[in-house]
Amino acid sequence: MMGKVIPLKENLNTTIKEILELLLEKECFDAVLVPVRVPSGESFAYLLMKDRRILQSCTPLPPIMPVQGARALRDLTRRGNSNLKVLCVMRPCEIRASIELAKLRQIRLENVSFLSFDCPGALRTKDYINSPEESDNQYQEIIATWESENFRSACNTCLHFSYEGLPADLHIHLTNMKEERMGITPLSDKGKESLSRIGIECNGDLSGWQTEVNEISRKRIANRDKAFSELRDKISGAEGFHDFFSDCINCHNCMRVCPICYCRQCFFDSSGEAKSEAEDYLAKIGAKGGIRFPGDMMLFHLGRMSHMALSCVSCGACEDGCPMEVPVSRAFAFVADEVQKMFDYVPGRNEEEPIPVQTYQEDELHQYEDAKGTG
């Protein structure tokens, strides 16, 4: 894994900022999509920048992920390909979500390149908003140690935090931050060409950094197995499911902040669903004697799962956007993991790989069908 080890100037963000400025200056890219601190200071938003002066105020690796990067990129190319050559500075889960959206023609990747980095994880947006400065210092700590208890639950169990199987162009290695050094490697020809154009020769061998990555993965796998096994019996059966979601107020926010949910109008908000006759609700009461109105909370969550579980990159945006902090991302990550294993499918691994339900094999899944025909 050839790349370049770069000593940090002041801190990580300023070092990456310098590289971004060079990339713009040398016209490797026309514009950069990168998070920036919002005017009021307690949060971050993605800005598409062309002007290098504004680049000064950017924070390539913010402590929180208020907007999932794929949702930002989607707005740019949903109506067609933009002939701007854009470099997106995003976390691995945001890049993978973008690849999934590209398969659904919501993002056009023709002129889009990605700069990713080893993602230590993100804090909960609400915690950050309550105390921005304190969280900022805490995050510097986290980047060095990769340890924290107030990570978002999705980050605690995230296995795709590094560059394996990640279709990005440039990657920044952060697993050796204790020595105030970061690594940068090209993952594509475009990446290689851009680095050489800005005078960075990839002569350093970074394969040594892999040991830290494996170490972190081991811990994450342990977290994941523990979390999923606890979840399995907590959520099982109609009562289990219902207790798990008992605080849900049916506001459907988890669907809106999810990068994979791209429908203009969600089926569960459509008039076919929302507007049915009074007797239908009274009929629903029927023998039960009463329903939680309108009685479609479980249908919504299970239905959304059946729509997007295969493409779910477990980025945790749903839990971050839930006003009631229902552990939605744990349930969805758990189901997504199982369903994706079934088709041996990893979302966001490769733009050409079709989403399993949009293709088929003639000879598969026999255990799910009763096919003892006459022949």
């Binding site: 089926f267 239905g303 899944l365 069908e369």
Partner: protein, 141 residues
């Protein structure tokens, strides 16, 4: 199991094969428990997983999706997509501890009246043993 519990099954039968198979079962007077009420669709690939979800959450004891044998689909490739959608739905159910076996996918050709009877009778028996669906009385869905 209490003998008199008659499970309520929603049957999505594809017009060209399984619905014709069911008709044939009727024409040849094959008797079977009256648990399944058919809904005719032009192809099994018309069955949206959300129909299945609505049926089971609406209190159905079982849902049968029936179509042509793979390779015989009147619309060439419809049943291949059906198979994947059913597999995905069953997988999600099983992961959430919801009773997977309440959803059954069966291929029944137009000439297989006897097979239709076997599928309906076996499915009804299986559901009788499982008893009424617990989701039926779940109040706060």
């Amino acid at each position: 199991m209490d003998g008199d519990f008659l499970p309520r099954i929603i049957g999505f039968l594809c017009n060209w094969c399984s619905y014709a198979g069911a008709d044939l079962a009727g024409v040849t007077r094959l008797k079977m428990p009256p648990s399944l009420v058919p809904i005719r669709v032009m192809c099994s690939s018309r069955v949206d997983p959300l129909f299945i979800l609505k049926a089971l959450l609406g209190g159905a004891d079982g849902v049968l999706v029936a179509g042509c044998h793979p390779g015989d689909c009147h619309y060439q490739t419809g049943n291949y997509y059906t198979r994947r959608r059913i597999a995905l739905t069953q997988k999600i159910f099983s992961e959430l501890g919801l009773e997977v076996s309440r959803l059954k996918l069966a291929w029944v050709a137009a000439s297989e009246g006897a097979r239709f009877k076997k599928v309906v009778t076996e499915f009804t028996e299986q559901l009788r043993e499982m008893g009424p669906s617990p989701i039926g009385e779940e109040v706060f869905l």
